[in-house]
């Protein structure tokens, strides 16, 4: 390919063009590229730009937007206590992911990264929650937490206490939500680490062992530094994932009790779509967009110099 290109670039343009038409170069570009471009523009870029436009209107989605309100939607969102709670909840998910979920996943990965039959079974078990649909996971756990019928009801009956409704408790409902999030996603992070750990050269570990390093020292000074790129990528997924949490909340709490467990997306859905405040909801979308792009740009600049994620 390279040699062909080199030969071609010395030819005059008209000749190259004719050759391009002859072997279908131009046709290939004109046939194979447009479907992707059209689909992407129509259903990704256009809606995204429209979000930025609708956000400045008070609009219920019918007719065309005429009631221009400037930045009023943004002011109302930022001043809305439920939105502030939703942002706080999103940050809580990030913190739980970084300080509980990722360490748990790392410990498990270190325990079972070697390829043995038992380890394979544990890997399989730990990964199952990740392939379940979020809605199914949420529904299963809403059963677990149900104070009348669920697993928590059985536990309460066994220890002889009153039925307790965790998901209806203003202070504890979001802890329950975060438990489900850890349950659902730790296996994903663990798989990333396992793949990385299997790539660490065995000689390095062997050398450290001969030098007299203990198991903990090997983990700390050899294995963890070696899989740093994987840790960075998985933290990125945790943060971007926290911005998008929606499906799990709906069956568990639907944002309640008294709007304590909203995330940014459930807030967008509840106050934008179900009430057909398209302008207001679009403004939430714009804020979410800015947050996501900021995270991506910041992350790429400071952590992923070698472009681990495009």
């Amino acid at each position: 390919m390279a040699s062909l290109d080199a030969a071609r670039s010395s030819e005059p343009l008209s000749l190259r063009l004719r050759r391009g038409l002859g072997n279908g170069r131009v046709t290939a570009v004109l046939i194979l590229l447009p479907p992707a471009l059209i689909l992407f523009t129509l259903f990704v870029i256009l809606p995204l730009s429209e979000s930025g436009y609708y956000a400045f209107f008070n609009w219920n989605g019918y007719g065309s937007p005429t009631d221009y309100v400037g930045v009023e939607n943004f002011e109302r969102i930022v001043g809305h206590s439920i939105f502030q709670t939703a942002v706080g909840n999103t940050l809580k998910i990030v913190l739980i992911s970084l300080f509980i979920q990722m360490p748990l996943a790392l410990v498990l990965a270190l325990l079972i990264y070697r390829k043995t039959p038992t380890n394979a079974v544990f890997r399989l078990i730990f990964f199952v929650p990740y392939i379940l649909a979020e809605v199914a996971a949420g529904l299963i756990w809403s059963f677990v937490f149900d104070g009348n019928y669920g697993v928590s009801a059985s536990i309460a009956a066994a220890i002889g206490s009153e039925p307790y409704f965790l998901l209806a408790d203003r202070d504890w409902a979001f802890v329950a939500v975060m438990t489900v999030i850890v349950w659902k996603y730790f296996g994903f992070h663990m798989m990333i680490y396992i793949a990385a750990l299997q790539g660490v050269p065995e000689d390095l570990i062997e050398a450290a062992r001969i030098e007299g390093a203990s198991r903990t020292q090997i983990v700390r000074y050899v294995q963890v530094p070696q899989i740093k790129p994987a840790l960075i990528v998985s933290a990125f997924f945790a943060i971007i994932g926290a911005l998008q949490v929606f499906d799990i909340i709906i069956p568990l709490t639907n944002g309640g009790p008294s709007n304590q467990t909203h995330t940014i997306v459930t807030y967008l859905y509840t106050f934008g779509l179900t009430r057909l405040n398209i302008g207001f909801g679009s403004a939430v979308g714009v804020i979410l967009f800015i947050a996501a792009v900021t995270v991506a740009v910041f992350y790429q600049r400071f952590f992923m110099k070698r472009g681990a994620v495009a």
Partner: protein, 276 residues
């Protein structure tokens, strides 16, 4: 020494079993719950049922709507996979094989989708789908879902296509094989590993998707299974055993699929996303 090792090994397995029970207990309670009466669920959610009642599972399996939801999900997911593979691979092929003015710019443009979550554009998407008259059709889910998955698919495809042997193209080219034909005759057949990886990834994403169908599908006839499941839960609020039977039967295909195609699924969901 060996005694310490033994203790450490026991501690290790004990810890793994503890985590495994945290993972499995809710699922076990769900599967068992489908066999119990509600009174039984109430007293022992994790216990084995006294009698294995098959009627709750049977009533779900006999409900035509249940199969309808699964069929809708299946057709939508297959539609997403085929469209993503074809449209994504075609575009990636152009970027990998043909250098032309603006190709880098167009490539970066198509990768913009990696930057932001789906939900940011969900409201205008709803308006657009409605104005196109697509609400309650399969296309209402397939087109946006495919469009949002294209960025990652194109990135992965291009990386793979660039690693295919170059001599092959030169030989085919000298034999008079054009670019479009080369794509169909050589590139696609040689790329089955990456097609399978991306295909599985797209399928799982689409099968589990909730937000988009929730927004663009309103009639029960068009519901995908997650919507159907929520609908069912709403109708049988106090009858957990029926809901649990419904949940078990609807996640069963995903579990079976996972066990069958484990290799591709793990590669697609973790490796695929990382290597990008």
């Amino acid at each position: 020494m060996s005694r310490a090792q033994l203790i450490r090994n026991i501690a290790r397995v004990a810890f793994l079993c503890l985590v495994a029970s945290f993972v499995l207990a809710p699922m076990l309670a769900t599967v068992l719950g489908g066999f119990k009466t509600n009174a039984e669920i109430r007293t022992g959610a994790l216990a084995l049922p006294e009698t294995w009642n098959l009627e709750f599972y049977a009533s779900i399996a006999e409900d035509p709507m249940f199969w309808r939801y699964l069929l809708n999900s299946l057709l939508i997911s297959i539609g997403c996979v085929l469209l993503t593979l074809f449209v994504g691979a075609a575009a990636a092929y152009v970027f990998a094989q043909i250098r032309f003015f603006g190709s880098r710019m167009l490539f970066s443009y198509l990768l913009l989708g990696l930057m932001f979550p789906f939900a940011t554009a969900i409201l205008p998407l709803f308006i657009k789908v409605r104005d196109l008259g697509l609400l309650d059709t399969y296309w209402a889910v397939i087109l946006p879902q495919t469009a949002f998955g294209l960025s990652l698919a194109i990135l992965l495809f291009r990386t793979f296509f660039e690693q295919l042997p170059k001599d092959l193209f030169e030989a085919a080219y000298l034999d008079g094989c054009g670019y479009v034909r080369f794509f169909f005759r050589f590139t696609l057949p040689l790329s089955t590993p990456i097609l399978a990886t991306v295909g599985v990834f797209v399928f799982v994403q689409s099968w589990n998707n909730f937000l988009l169908p929730l927004v663009v599908l309103n009639s029960r006839e068009a519901f995908t299974w997650p919507l159907g499941m929520m609908q069912f839960r709403g109708e049988y609020v106090t009858q957990w055993n029926r809901t649990l039977a419904f949940v078990t039967l609807s996640i069963l295909p995903a579990i079976v699929f996972f066990l069958a195609a484990q290799k591709y699924i793990v590669a697609g969901l973790t490796g695929g996303a990382v290597k990008g």
